[in-house]
Symmetry: C2
Subunit: 349 residues, 2 copies
Amino acid sequence: MPVTLKQIAEQANCSVMTVSNVLNNKGDMYRPEMRRRVLEATKRLGYRPNAAARATRAGRCGNVTLLSSVHDEQSNLPTGLLGGLQESLAQHDLRLSFARLPDEKLTDPQYMMKLLRLWSADGILVNYTHGYPLRMIELIEQYRLPAIWLNCRLEYDCVFPDDVAAGRLAAEHLIGKGLNRIAFVDYAAGWKDLDQMHYSLKDRQEGYEQAMRDAGLEPWVVREDYHVSGSDRLAVSQRWLEDCDPPQGVVAYSGAQSVELAMAVRGRQLGRDYDMVVFADRRITMASGPVATVVIPQWRLGEQGTAALLQKIESQQARLAPVTIQPELALPDPEDEGRQKEKDPSRPS
Amino acid sequence: MPVTLKQIAEQANCSVMTVSNVLNNKGDMYRPEMRRRVLEATKRLGYRPNAAARATRAGRCGNVTLLSSVHDEQSNLPTGLLGGLQESLAQHDLRLSFARLPDEKLTDPQYMMKLLRLWSADGILVNYTHGYPLRMIELIEQYRLPAIWLNCRLEYDCVFPDDVAAGRLAAEHLIGKGLNRIAFVDYAAGWKDLDQMHYSLKDRQEGYEQAMRDAGLEPWVVREDYHVSGSDRLAVSQRWLEDCDPPQGVVAYSGAQSVELAMAVRGRQLGRDYDMVVFADRRITMASGPVATVVIPQWRLGEQGTAALLQKIESQQARLAPVTIQPELALPDPEDEGRQKEKDPSRPS
DNA sequence: GTGAAAGCGCTAACAC
DNA sequence: GTGTTAGCGCTTTCAC
């Protein structure tokens, strides 16, 4: 039903090739009159190029697939990452597609065909940060899929943030303000389950501890034995804050809001009585106002992921060296407020 | 470079058609021996089907494009929506691709070709919730792109949540608990800029007001003249809470955290001294613990969006009646805690 | 300057 | 049961 080059050629009284050339910027040689006729017919018919046909001819797919877990209920896909990927891929005339590895048994060859068809791409970006099934690694190897892992600290073929640097950056900011009692808070993992968790939990704490020791300060890590769920975080925060001289600075991997609230109940105000640094993909404003944020630039991560994948596709190289992304400290500088992208007020929440 | 059916046929000593049929579940007629040889060669060579070629043959593109704004710095793409779209499209052997309408002048035909190639799809899902450029509507019309608008309340070809119902649901929950002084809080829009904002701002307030009046209660809307930025919300919350007998219930479109904090500073605890309802795409846990949430089921919105788009593509119908999605109240029931999907603790934040 | 021929990988239709 | 033919929309090559 869609318009084809052939139909344009008929309308413009020329050959299909002429149309193709004119529309692909190779029409310099043609008479202006010819070009005009072609462009006019193209516009009039509302012609849309058929990417599939072009890709078939070119022997490529024209797209890259972002592979995610089916288990991600929560957003594991920052808009910045999506944007960075999409825009850098578009510059190479590649589309970004989305796929998941379902739970079904992947032994049925018929089912595998269906899945591979959906994955059909020039390359794969794997967005599992942890807990990726062995089966997927097997599939990637078996089908020689050019793949890059995002947010994964592997030996090769990956792009990930330098989380030790992120931890250092956070601590150094507070140390630089002359604070001494600086706590590192994380409720996401406990000491007992830390090892099975994402490396960033350990690495950011490690960076914090390094910075503290370098400054001659005693690290102060607030971490329970096990993961603290959202509903328990306030109580836990209040408990440890009761027992101590309250911190002058807090580096929060998670639980920042419960610390803020527990401090407020004790009459201690963020920005006045203590400082906080959080980690995020963008500058953060908490309930008490903006806070210093160690920004993990997801946009750049996406761009670098694209670059790595393209290199992998081009070079057919077996293994690519890991790429690390440096985090950046974003201050809650009031002067910056204007530039800070506020949550767009007119969008639905 | 990728493996083709032809190569498999050579290895399996048969024709390309035999391979195609066996791999596409149409191989019942073939001798088991033949099928075995084909499947063996397929596996050994690591064959991946070429979706582009199949799509070319079928006269379709095999994918649907999700069109987003370049201006979305903040996540406007809930994971649930993505998941619902992706999964329902996969059931129809369609891939989901992403694209954006860039700011560049869209007058250059060469540039337009490039863009249309990236948008190349059987249909388009428009994810602009507001502020979509007129140029895009023109493009959709000119190129007869089968399009469905998501989260937009239009006259036709759209799928969006019933936000009046959402507002009602929130208020009725608190009214049902026997509360009287129930405030509706929104800092995202002010009275003066409400009209240019997303319809959900007005609609949820409208639903709240309806429910209040139905119950013989006085609506109490907290809204400033203009948008209140994140850094000012706490101060604003403290100001209006100072002047009044504090509310027993709060319906928060936005600013929930600043209200929670302001109340805490006054010694009023969420769940003990007052109740709150918020709107989200999933059950929400605030710093004080879980709260009742009016859940806008984005997953279902995605599924319905797919259904509508497929119908639009199939039927070539000019205009499809709008589809509304009903919100659901999710209680902060402790019994439900187990089922509540906590933010996965092992992911990077 | 323009167009005819060939072929990309795949599959519907039909022949044997 | 298996293979042959033709053709999807597009572009590379090369002839006129």
